[in-house]
Amino acid sequence: MGLKEDVQNTLGELALDFLECQGDLSVTVPKDKIVEVLTKLRDNLGFNFLSDVFGVDNSVFYEKLAKAKAKKKKGEEDKEEEPQGPPPPRFEVVYLLLSLETNKRLAVKIQVPEDDLVVDSVTCLWKAADWPERETFDMFGIRFKGHHNLKRLLMWDEFPAHPLRKDYPLEGQGEERILEYND
């Protein structure tokens, strides 16, 4: 009885996709059902501890992957993962869950398309989501509906960009914090 089956059973069709890597399980769920999913996981599977919430910008990832694949398997036909239809959503929000009883960890992911950057806040389930959500907003521009105090956390309020997006250069675009006075 693996964790995967438990999660599958609990979530039913809410679990869209599973990814297993070196024993770490992550499950992708629909974006607008995230609060429901997390509530179910917390109440039924005992994932009572929210480790972290953060975003990932996948815009470059799929390109790189496709390139690598194209290089590797020249001519060979892919079964499913051939890019077809609309491109996958740009952003991902990952919720790291932990069960204090069984010490099992689970990553829950939602896909956030660039044209709809609003996600339901999970601060109602865990207060711990407070700052991580703010940071995700700060770094990726993903808005969390229902968050009580959604403003920039790490950068200053007037900062124009979202620095962890892949299209933002490492050395910045020359933003300077406006000095509030002149010497």
Binding site: P163, R177, E180
Partner: protein, 167 residues
Amino acid sequence: MAFQAYGGEGWLLTKLEQLINWGRKRSPWPLPYGTACCGIEMMAALASGYDLARFGAERPSFSPRQADVLIQAGTITKKMVPIFKRIYDQMAEPKWVISMGACACSGGVFRTYSTLQGIDLVVPVDVYVPGCPPRPEGLIYALIKIMEKIEKDHPLRKKAAEIGIGG
């Protein structure tokens, strides 16, 4: 005419200036502005093993009015710049700045969107201490350098020039 002596190269004046410089040299109260890793090394320098207090740099004063040497230990981010600048501005004259650590000197390894690439972009720096982080000995050496610099100062002559007498 009486001011001539005040502004001139009098023996008394030089001795007085030496006295003032000695006082300033022996009592450089630091304003520890430790933001990151270097702050921990600065604490180590203030603690027993290295004991910055030997040089009179005891009584770290966080009020900029009371401090003489601003020890900037650690990264200054762009978010911090106005605050740091204001703290420096609020320090009473005479004041000196030690830039401790690679981050403070040049931004260090953090060549990123949010890090200021060296505090000398916003405030004048007297002594740079390289290292990531520098050892406490580095800070002590910087303090000694500051002392040497103080010794070369001409406080009374400057004051005289300021109020418009003498040279």
